[in-house]
């Protein structure tokens, strides 16, 4: 992990060096890029929330649902994992209007990315829930708890801790995938990068800084997930020397 901080510091220094070498031009494109970054962050947060909201029911449906519900869940997971995010994005963007569903591009973006990452997330949830020791389930039966209660109060809380690192990786994947939305004309960071490039032609600086932005956001995500992991594990690990 020190390696990562080192990498970030190195890149930031490099970018800083670049900017010192060309201070004035910064003002030309930085505001535009910052606007784009805001949109990127918006889509990332929206997509991540949707992904989690979709993944948990999908996983539970796949594991415990009645047959037709299970098939629905499996269908969703296989389709969204088996096709690429860009295809899904374009499909939702170009095809939904044919069915009379008119959505704002931003909504389409969050929907597509959230569903895509949610499908991978469902497998993460499934893995974590399966990993909870069988004895915990048996204890809930011995205490005459209905299955939904057992899942909600006993199993899922324990699965939560195991889930956090893989979800962190998925959130970063979602962040990277947001760049795709520039291809459906959403003015995110990637779009702004191209736009600013057309205007100022400071290609190297722009794209380097853009890469640094993404790195910065993903570092924030990683740090956030680690803090979340520590908080979630406090009950389980408390007292451990």
């Amino acid at each position: 992990m020190a390696l990562r901080t080192l990498a970030v510091c190195a890149i930031v220094c490099f970018a800083a060096g670049l900017s010192v070498a060309s201070f004035a031009s910064f003002r030309e494109f930085l505001p535009g890029l910052l606007q784009g970054a805001l949109v990127t962050i918006e889509i990332t947060i929206g997509g991540c929330v949707l992904a989690v909201l979709v993944a948990v029911p999908a996983a539970l449906a796949k594991m415990y649902g009645p047959r037709p519900v299970r098939w629905l869940a499996v269908g969703y997971i296989e389709i969204f994992r088996g096709t690429s995010a860009l295809v899904q994005l374009f499909w939702l963007f170009f095809v939904l209007p044919h069915f009379g569903i008119l959505l704002e591009p931003l909504t389409v973006a969050i929907l597509a990315l959230g569903l895509n990452v949610g499908a991978y997330g469902a497998e993460v949830v499934r893995g974590a829930v399966s990993a909870v020791p069988r004895g915990q389930w048996e204890a809930t039966v011995a205490l005459n708890m209905p299955r939904t209660l057992a899942l909600r109060r006993i199993i899922l809380p324990q699965a939560l801790v195991a889930m956090i690192p893989p979800w962190g990786n998925l959130f970063i994947e979602l962040l990277k995938a947001t760049a795709l939305v520039s291809l459906i004309t959403i003015t995110d960071l990637a779009f702004k990068a191209q736009q600013m490039n057309q205007i100022t032609f400071k290609t190297l600086q722009i794209f380097t800084i853009v890469l640094v932005f993404y790195l910065a956001i993903s570092t924030v995500i990683t740090a956030g997930m680690r803090a979340l992991e520590n908080w979630a594990a406090r009950g389980l690990a408390r007292g451990r020397q």
């Binding site: 499909w91 795709l180 490039n197």
Partner: protein
């Protein structure tokens, strides 16, 4: 407006099939880059020399954490400023290849770290050079277990090729978009593309599982 036009579908099928060849070419070339560069990165990262291992690690982390699309743009738009002008296909494949090389390097790293220390020590005791050690002792043991993981990245790389449409490479996605805009109907081309990817990735996933069990068996009975 008709829901699904089969006549139109048949019309556009040849163009899409031609484009799928470009997609497959891009996938294979990209994966070749990823698999070989990834191994090199993994070995470099293991170096005892910190001046080698740290920058390599920084490079890997940096590439892994940033979007492929931006990296494609970087190679396509920024490299020319330094005199390196690559055609769109090459730029795109290079970008995807390097990006996935970083993923593959993590996989190789795990495989290499799984080799018991004793293997290295025995090689030293037999006075084998590092090159020979890697070639004859370490790599033959490290690679087979990681092949399934590499296979998964092959499939993932395949699914990333639509990104090349951003720099107008005439692969599947780009062709579908062009067909769609020419004929003002997007449903059929994009759905066909989606179906194509779905079938290919399900087939690839099945192949990888077969490969896994094949390797599992041969690992348990080496020499068979």
């Amino acid at each position: 407006m008709k829901f699904w036009d089969w006549g139109y579908t048949l019309e556009i099928l040849p163009a899409l099939l031609r484009a799928s060849i470009v997609t497959i070419e891009a996938t294979i070339l990209g994966f070749v880059i990823a698999a070989t560069l990834g191994l090199a990165l993994a070995i470099l990262r293991m170096s005892q020399n910190r001046w080698v291992s740290v920058p390599t690690a920084a490079f890997v982390e940096f590439i892994r954490s940033t979007p492929i699309l931006i990296q494609i743009f970087f190679i396509f738009f920024v490299f020319p400023e330094f005199g390196i002008v690559l055609p769109a296909f090459a730029a795109g494949v290079l970008a995807i290849g390097v990006h996935y090389a970083t993923y593959c390097s993590e996989v190789y790293r795990a495989g290499l770290e799984n080799i018991p220390k004793g293997q290295w020590e025995a090689s030293t005791a037999l006075n084998l050079s590092p090159y020979v050690t890697f070639r004859d002792v370490i790599i033959p043991q490290a690679i087979p277990p990681v092949v399934p993981a590499l296979g998964n990245y092959f499939v993932a790389l395949f699914k990333e090729t639509p990104l090349l449409s951003a720099i107008a490479v005439l692969e599947l996605m780009q062709t579908a978009k062009i067909l769609g805009s020419e004929n003002f109907r997007y449903i059929e081309p994009i759905t066909l593309v989606g179906v194509f990817f779905l079938i290919m990735s399900l087939a690839a996933a099945w192949l990888i599982r077969r490969l896994e069990s094949l390797l599992d068996r041969s690992l348990r009975n080496p020499g068979r």
